[in-house]
């Protein structure tokens, strides 16, 4: 059975190309993807995760306001009783920040994994499989490049 993941761009960010590519890669890898599109609020992520019984929520942010937009997101998830895997990725800081400190910030905010904009979708999918304890054959159309 395909696992469901929620995908969207948070806040008032409209960068859609990244999630378009991610959606295609996740579907090709056998996931059921609910793509909420750009400019998605925290509440919309939570509602969708509930409604679809999602196992993971993938938050994208490119425009540099990720920290503000994600503030309190994990409290909201908890208050709604959702225990899902959370990933965040994209250009998470304003400016030319060092990614390691950015990663640290988002880890502390509760995200299970933090990805930079150089992330190859296939690597994120490999992580997702690992975290969901999926074997490589569990997906429908699985391919993992070493």
């Amino acid at each position: 059975m395909p696992r469901t993941v929620i995908l969207g761009v948070i806040g008032s960010d409209a960068h859609v190309v990244g999630i378009t590519i991610l959606e295609q890669a996740l579907s090709a890898a056998g996931f059921e993807v609910v793509n909420l599109g750009v400019q998605t609020s925290q509440a919309e992520f939570v509602d969708a995760a509930k409604a679809h019984g999602a196992e993971a929520v993938l938050v994208s942010s490119l425009y540099g306001h990720a920290r503000q937009d994600c503030e309190g997101f994990h409290d909201l998830l908890e208050s709604e009783g959702l225990d899902v895997l959370t990933y965040v990725g994209g250009n998470l800081a304003v400016g030319q920040d060092d990614f390691e400190s950015t990663r640290e910030t988002f880890r502390e905010m509760g995200f299970d994994r933090v990805f930079d904009a150089e992330t190859d979708p296939e690597d994120a999918i490999a992580d997702l499989r690992r975290d969901l304890e999926l074997t490589a054959t569990e997906g429908e159309q699985v391919r993992v490049d070493s």
Partner: protein, 484 residues
């Protein structure tokens, strides 16, 4: 009902009065006194005359930071160390959403903390006087660059604040920038903005308007971009705008880019009234950049080289740090100087490329077809027509995040690297043009020994950041393989 007609004077006044209460700085706006301020500016700060009288492409970067003093320092640096001819002020994302309260918080946080909490300059929050401080502090003309669907208050404050150029338009700042704004409303809002610019213009203070040509920045077929420019140009002209800079974003194929810029200029002259002075702006590659400054400099240089051949009136430069995040001022200035070196080394060379005319004709024919479809949809009214055409998918933009566009059109590069249309959906192009696109993409599919598929599109989206123009299958990584 929305039509492409000029906003009445009392309506302009009425709307302006309402907007004044959206944020307290709105009340600082006084049209007569603003005219006086503009009249006090030296010729070197008057945007339209500087741009329209230039004999070489002028260079302009993008730049915006939250605090006034920082913005002054940043622009002064770009002017002095980058050699920018025209300056920008890029507005933050909260302002674009009309969330002035949040912008105020971000501004306060930026004032207290050491990190910038906004991704641009919140001009509405700064208000009229601070805008004027900015204008006074710099030597070159400054443009407001933003991405705001409802930019009415922003226009009121910044134009009163002494800016003489205002980017955007009802389609170009809706479709690529937002999800839920309906096109009819954004057109109404921009009719106000354009009418305001017209009002200044009638008083002798020409406000330059610049529809945002690159749209989603990602493999946008030239005919689509140009059609949007023509529609926005017409809407603006109706409201009294007399200085229009039509834009186009580099796709990376030199012949196609030169052809598109020529088509843009010629169709602009043709479609817009004679009373309008049409100029063109070329945006260096607006899609994903390489995560490597050395390679990014190569992308920027190809933009400069293309500009030297196509000779647009203005070039918006990128920085080598584009991939990573908002660039340092040094990187921003370096993008300007790299571009300048290419233009200055190449502009006097007689570079005459074969194949430009043919590509230009193809672009023009396709653009005319889209314009025809728009007029037809609106029974001759371009405002109505463009709303209905986007509604039906007769007009569309690839990768559009907005609900107002189908976003069903998919582009891909042909074997020569030119952007063609792979999935037309309901786009109103005649069959023979579709055949041409299909044939070119068919060649590429044969070269690569794979079917045309979304994978090809995805590979093309990544290609330049991976260091190529065309997303050929390499087998090297999942994203670029055609195994599935």
């Amino acid at each position: 009902m929305l039509t492409d007609t000029r906003l009445a004077a009392d309506e302009l006044q009425h709307i302006a009065n309402d907007l004044r209460d959206n944020w307290h700085t709105g009340r600082q706006v006084d049209f007569e006194e603003a005219i006086a301020f503009h009249e006090s500016l030296p010729a070197s700060k008057q945007f339209a005359p500087v741009l329209e009288s230039a004999d070489q492409p002028l260079l302009q970067p993008r730049a915006g930071v939250p605090l006034l003093e920082d913005q002054i320092d940043l622009l002064r640096y770009l002017q002095d160390e980058g050699g920018a001819d025209l300056l920008p002020t890029t507005i933050d994302s909260y302002t674009r959403d009309n969330e002035y309260e949040k912008a105020e918080e971000g501004l306060a946080a930026s004032r207290n903390g050491d990190a910038d909490e906004l991704n641009g300059f919140p001009a509405v929050n700064h208000g009229v006087e601070d805008c004027r401080r900015l204008v006074r502090a710099l030597d070159a003309p400054i443009e407001v660059r933003h991405g705001t669907p409802d930019a009415r208050l922003l226009a009121m404050v910044t134009l009163a604040g002494g800016f003489q150029s205002f980017e955007g338009g009802p389609i170009s700042y809706n479709i690529p920038y937002t999800k839920r704004h309906d096109l009819e409303t954004t057109i109404e809002h921009w009719q106000f903005v354009d009418r305001l610019c017209g009002a200044y213009t009638e008083r002798g203070v020409t406000i330059n308007r610049e529809p945002f040509g690159p749209l989603t920045g990602t493999l946008v077929p030239p005919c689509i971009a140009i059609a949007v420019m023509l529609v926005e140009g017409q809407l603006a002209a109706t409201q009294g705008v007399r200085s229009l800079t039509l834009g186009y974003g580099q796709v990376g194929n030199v012949v196609q880019d030169v052809a598109a810029l020529r088509a843009l200029r010629e169709l602009g002259e043709e479609f817009l009234p004679d009373s309008v002075t049409v100029t063109t702006v070329f945006h260096e590659w607006m899609g994903g950049f390489p995560p490597d400054e050395a390679r990014a400099n190569g992308v920027i240089s190809l933009g400069g080289a293309t500009a030297a051949v196509a000779k647009p009136d203005k070039v918006i430069t990128k920085s080598p740090q584009e991939f990573q995040g908002v660039p340092t001022k040094e990187a921003n200035a370096s993008g300007l100087r790299t571009t300048r070196q290419l233009i200055d080394m190449m502009i006097e060379q007689d570079i005459d490329l074969n194949g430009i005319d043919e590509e230009q004709r193809l672009i023009e024919r396709a653009t005319r077809a889209l314009m025809d479809a728009i007029y037809e949809a609106g029974d001759g009214d371009v405002a109505q027509g463009v709303v209905r055409a986007f509604d039906s998918g007769a007009m569309d933009v690839p990768f559009a995040p907005s609900d107002a566009a189908a976003g069903a059109v998919l582009p891909a590069r042909d074997d020569d690297g030119r952007v063609r249309i792979f999935e037309f959906a309901d786009l109103a192009l005649p069959d023979d043009i579709k055949e041409t696109h299909k044939a070119r993409l068919g060649e590429r599919a044969r070269t690569e020994g794979r079917d045309q598929s979304f994978r090809m599109v995805a590979d093309d989206v990544d290609a330049i950041s991976d260091g190529k123009l065309i997303g050929r299958p390499t087998g090297k990584r999942g994203g670029a393989s055609d195994a599935d």
